[in-house]
């Protein structure tokens, strides 16, 4: 056993280590479990759930871009009911924190989802996705509107005792203003960032490469932007941050913690290396030992400016 204390506390959510797998990049955990031991990770965040099932967008849903990818899955998900009946039994068997991500098209729907799900013991926290760029009614509009984010935070805060994490959109001028609103309305933490809006077109057909026209850009290409957003929040608002965006290896993860993240999520890298979480865990332990860091949480915001 390592003598580095890996546990972190993210706004009341206790994690045995800061490594989370990001919403939408591991489904409900069962498929990736063939390649990695999820129980060794701090936690997993399930695919955004809505009250009713969603089919998602028609193909083509993804396209590769330089050091990144665009996706417009359209929040395909099984809905709250099937999630409880079909997905929780497997998730219950895991020894890592289950964070349930929720995406809705109205404030009422957010609240209803939280209310239903909060009775499930296995769920340790909620991540409220106000920032999905790929659904028309909700997502983006909420994520760019300070008042809406405040309202959603406040209302979902009232619906549960569990930590409420708001997942912020990077497609705004000052993300720290949104983090401030989350704090003011009782949110326990923020996740940053969701994907950047991007597109790609086929120069032979002149058609968009993804059917939804625009998609969300993820992967290493966005890492510098994600780091800057997390740093901006850290320097302006006193709220725990879960850092997300382009993390591929333990060096990236350490960098994300240094700029201010209390924990971090791995997204696109899971597609390429489904065992990345554990490799990053080992890399971080070694890094902490080299630097004589006793508690991994000391890394959070340890930047020297």
């Amino acid at each position: 056993m390592s003598n580095v204390n890996l546990s972190v506390d993210v706004g009341g959510l206790k994690l045995k280590n800061p490594i989370l797998l990001a919403s939408g990049t591991i489904g409900y955990g069962n498929e990736i479990a063939e390649f990695t031991d999820l129980s060794k990770l701090g936690g997993i965040v399930t695919k955004s759930l809505s009250l009713k099932p969603r089919k998602g967008n028609p193909p083509q849903r993804i396209v590769e871009t330089p050091s990144g990818m665009l996706n417009a899955i359209g929040l395909a998900n099984v809905g709250v009911e099937a999630f409880i009946n079909e997905k929780i039994p497997f998730l219950k068997t895991l020894d890592s924190a289950l964070i349930c991500n929720i995406a809705a098209s109205s404030i009422e729907e957010y609240v209803e989802c939280v209310k239903i799900l909060t009775s499930i013991d296995t769920i340790k926290a909620f991540e409220i996705n106000v920032s999905c760029p790929n659904v028309k009614e909700g997502g983006l509009e909420f994520g760019n509107n300070l008042a809406a984010v405040g309202k959603i935070t406040e209302q979902s805060r009232l619906a549960t005792d569990k930590p409420i994490i708001i997942k912020l959109s990077p497609n705004v001028s000052r993300i720290s203003d949104f983090a401030k609103v989350v704090k003011e309305n009782g949110g326990n933490a923020v996740s940053a960032i969701n994907t950047l809006v991007g597109t790609a077109f086929d120069i032979n057909t002149c058609k968009p490469k993804i059917k939804n026209i625009t998609g969300g850009l993820s992967g290493p290409a966005i890492k510098p932007v994600a780091l800057a957003k997390v740093l901006e929040i850290k320097r302006n608002v006193d709220i725990p941050i879960i850092g997300i965006g382009g993390l591929m290896n333990w060096q990236d993860a350490a960098e994300m913690m240094i700029v201010g993240a209390s924990a971090f999520q791995l997204g696109t890298v899971n597609f390429i290396n489904p065992n990345a979480g554990i490799e990053i865990l080992n890399g971080l332990i070694n890094y902490c030992e080299q630097k004589s860091i006793k508690n991994i949480s000391e890394l959070t915001g340890s930047f020297q400016i």
Binding site: G24, E31, E34, K55, R61, I62, S67, N270, I272
Partner: protein
């Protein structure tokens, strides 16, 4: 399913920029089934970012074969691998061909690189089945017969065999020789598969289609590879529910 570091054994150039790659990947080889595929990291760095999916073309002992042509940067890098270079392979993935059951003749319809999954299929067909293969391509240079049996060829430009599509060729051939107890196995470009699907459904042939799409993960976690279900109002995932589907199960 494994993630296996596999050394390249040989890279063989077939005709006209088509490559046959042999890698030593015993864990995957030991469980692979015809019609399954692997998702391959073609470089040791992050360019290209995503893995590239390739059908398992054949298995020989602990080795896997992949048949491919140069499409973009990923396949270009793959084509430049030398003996001993290591690839990181994730597989075997997806559901393969259903080879058991009540049929006498396995009819293979392959368009271009759609020939890739069939050598391994042919090798594994129950011994009581006949095989007849129809292979089509733009022209003679792109015809691949590797690992196939009883091959009839069709080319768009007539430079080899029948001038026209594989489907037309098969239809012609059927008139001369009404094979009995047919099951069709098809792989190739989408337009071809759509035509085959219609043809088989209209004529009530049992037919399995191996289809492609852009993929990020290859094993069901990204939801990037949907195909419309013909059964209900939902999407199936090509990587997990396929890549081989019954022609009646999906809408192309």
């Amino acid at each position: 399913m494994f993630i296996e570091k596999a050394p390249v054994v040989t890279t063989q150039i077939m005709n006209d920029g088509i490559f046959l790659l042999k890698v030593f990947s015993p864990s995957i080889a030991s469980v692979a089934k015809p019609g399954q595929f692997c998702n391959i990291k073609v470089s040791g760095n992050s360019f290209p970012l995503l893995r590239r999916p390739f059908s398992i073309c054949n298995v020989d002992g602990g080795s896997l074969f992949f048949l491919f042509d140069i499409h973009g940067e990923g396949t270009k890098i793959l084509s430049e691998k030398n003996e001993g270079d290591c690839l990181e392979i994730l597989g075997p993935l997806g559901k393969g061909f259903v080879i058991d059951g009540d049929y006498n003749t396995a009819v293979i319809l392959a368009g271009g690189l759609g020939a890739a999954p069939f050598p391994f299929l042919v090798k594994n067909l129950p011994s009581d089945k006949n095989v007849v293969s129809f292979v089509g391509a733009r022209s003679k240079k792109q015809i691949v017969k590797y690992g196939l049996q009883n091959v009839f060829t069709a080319t768009d430009d007539g430079s080899e065999g029948f001038k026209g599509t594989v489907l037309d060729l098969f239809n012609e051939q059927l008139k001369k020789n009404p094979y009995n107890g047919i099951r069709i196995f098809a792989c190739g470009p989408n337009a071809m598969l759509a035509a085959v699907q219609k043809y088989c459904n209209d004529n009530n042939y049992n037919c399995q289609l191996s289809i492609e799409s852009a993929m990020a993960c290859g094993f069901g976690i990204c939801q990037g590879c949907p195909v419309v279900s013909a059964v209900d109002d939902s999407y199936l995932l090509i990587c997990k529910d396929g890549p081989v589907f019954d022609a009646r199960a999906i809408m192309l």
